[in-house]
Symmetry: C2
């Protein structure tokens, strides 16, 4: 007996490319030393010395938790204090007129999974942009849905509203439900953020959807708190809060990056509903999915976030630490952009965030060439992803010329 | 717009009965004081003063973790040290001849979810016993599978091998794949543990399954470390390790009870495969499901368990503390049994564990009557569940007469 599993139409790869690349990078660091290696594979924020950044204020709050507060089960949708706090964290100063529903999840993946499970049907296609986080496809596939991609950029490098509109029309012709996933601001892998004009374009498309079609607009904002000033990066919320009744915005908000609690597994899905019934239904169906997939979510990070938002000084400390880390990250991104321009290295439209993407025809080949120089990137379908989050500013300055050279060799 | 969700054939209840009952119990405690209330709703081990038991040695290990060790992402299937440690914890001194595969999950729910997703097909029926943990049905429903129940006990109160055999035959007639979930030892909700004779009966049934049918035998052993002596409660492993090649045993082993880390969300699924290919496939498909459902699992409990198993003294301390807690729990169960016999209260066959179940015709009505006396239990389909884990021995002694009286009033 060589196989016992039921594949159920899922394409299950032998190995995870991200994991494989990061493993090779760690081997190289062990062999040659950290200063001889550029490990730009990691999706977490590292300091210039190559250490994972954990906000001190978050660490101290974690240390202060009494055992019963992390050892006990949390309610399925999260503790009441966490739910209140995470809405504040996600929305900032924005006060929506929509009805809010909140369900905690173990990371952003769980939020997206629950949105797909509850707002589309088996066999449906989920719509997202052409440059996208690979797990969107796996999540859809695990739930017997497919993926449809709209071209993210037009010939001028602008957000491709036309193709977005075309695909929304195409899919709603045959589907009663449509889940759309937009990963912005500071998109993974490109670092692109939709402008307010892009957002008005999205709204115009959604305004045209017939009222008997139901759209869940999933906004994966995993990188929002490292994308720019807190108020500015949340400006789009006024558009999301002002869509028609057949469009349900669902914000997938993760504590992984915002609170540097990647391994803590904490996030929330937050809906902006037109009616209390739709908000209640959201909580009900997403709680059911949680109960039937992972049950309750980890309690420790929920307790930490509740404590942060019930202590003004602590909140200020967290925000200041995060602002410093964000400043460092934004400087790295700008450094990479400048040197890419100087070296004549084309990059996919970039605004901010953890990653920059370089379009290329043979991503696996390019990564292999770079590995010989102890430079480790992630190969995508049509480009390579560089983590500026895990590379010092000095390394970000050196990278574009190294990549350009490898592309031409 | 009153509804936006796609129900996809799932029966989604308005409210969770366990959550509702436990909420009422907590209200009563707040109003009347803990000594006036018996809250036997909770699925966690409490001391006689009504406090959640957290093993001190586990708590101290948690406190000792450096921030980077819990804040970083764990690999999808778990850290290497955790995977090694959790197999030791699950199997104890037993050395299987089968090939082991391990994938960490955020709690036992995730392990069962992944087993159903990867070893059955949409539309299939999952087989379990008539008294079962309610989420088995939700998990199956969320994945577009149904549930088939075999009668757990025969007329003499023995494990009903005959009906088990009949249902296995019936389902394998039409399904290529069959997932069977057995929750033993110390079954939730009954406290029943399969005897070795029961196990040989299970083996005899499985030996008859045609070789072109593929069976995943999911053993939910969530309560194993509170079911009796560590060696004795693992004796069944020699049967699981000795099945035919078309039967894949998958042990769902949870850290929730064993390490009192309920809210930490840590468990593992461990397969006992006939071939390295099947073990590798298990890791591959279950890792894919993890990546596409919750991504990686929480790191802190993985680090704690790795540390415990790499420090002999610490391991001994954990085991001694757990043994004391187990002794307390077993005494509560015996106290309940004795008083039930004295009061003439029928109980479902009980061996050990967190729960005892009383069969009755109107579980909701009985629970309502008991609530008037500040006694809180969980209503099931055909009985009420009493948590001896959350009630002192003294309360366990009082409960049977109180329940008997309410049944007759």
């Amino acid at each position: 007996m060589k196989s016992m599993a039921a594949y159920n139409g899922r394409e299950i790869p032998k190995e995870d490319k991200v994991f494989a690349a990061s493993g090779k990078a760690l081997d190289a660091v062990a062999k040659y030393g950290a200063d001889k290696v550029i490990n730009a594979t990691v999706g977490a924020l590292y300091d210039d010395e190559g250490r994972l950044i954990v906000l001190k204020s978050v660490e101290e709050t974690m240390k202060s938790l009494p055992a019963a507060s992390y050892a006990a089960y949390a309610p399925i949708a999260g503790t009441p204090g966490f739910k209140k706090a995470i809405v504040k964290a996600a929305l900032g100063d924005f006060e929506p007129k929509s009805y809010i529903g909140v369900v905690g999840t173990p990371g952003g993946t769980g939020a997206i999974r629950n949105a797909v499970a509850n707002y589309s049907q088996p066999g449906d296609r989920i719509l997202t942009h052409s440059w996208h986080w690979a797990p969107y496809k796996s999540i859809s596939s695990e739930l017997y849905r497919g993926i449809e991609r709209f071209e993210m950029f037009d010939a001028e490098g602008g957000f491709n509203i036309e193709d977005f509109g075309y695909k929304v029309k195409k899919l709603t012709r045959n589907q009663e439900h449509l889940v759309i996933i937009l990963n912005t601001p500071a998109n993974n892998p490109t670092g692109y953020s939709l402008s307010m004009d892009d957002w008005y374009g999205v709204k115009a498309v959604l305004d045209e959807v017939p009222m008997d079609k139901k759209i869940a607009l999933v906004l994966d904002v995993a990188y929002i708190d490292f994308a720019g000033e807190p108020g500015e990066v949340r400006e789009f919320l006024k558009v999301a809060d002002n869509l028609r009744a057949n469009i349900l915005p669902i914000i997938a908000y993760s504590a992984s990056k915002t609170f540097t609690l990647y391994g803590g597994r904490c996030a929330a899905m937050i809906c902006l509903a037109h009616s209390p019934e739709v908000a209640d239904e959201f909580v009900k169906v997403c709680s059911f999915s949680a109960r039937a997939s992972w049950s309750n979510s980890p309690r420790a990070p929920q307790e930490v976030i509740e404590r942060i938002y019930s202590d003004e000084d602590l909140l200020k400390a967290v925000e200041q630490e995060r602002a410093a880390a964000r400043k460092m990250l934004l400087a790295r991104g700008r450094a990479f952009e400048e040197e890419a321009a100087a070296a004549g290295l084309e990059i996919v439209p970039f605004r901010a965030g953890f990653f920059v993407t370089i379009p290329c025809d043979d991503p696996d080949g390019l990564c292999r060439k770079l590995e010989e120089k102890n430079v480790f990137l992630i190969p995508l379908d049509k480009g390579v992803r560089v983590s500026v989050a895990s590379s010092s500013e000095a390394k970000c300055r050196r990278l574009p010329a190294i990549i350009k050279e490898a592309m031409e060799s």
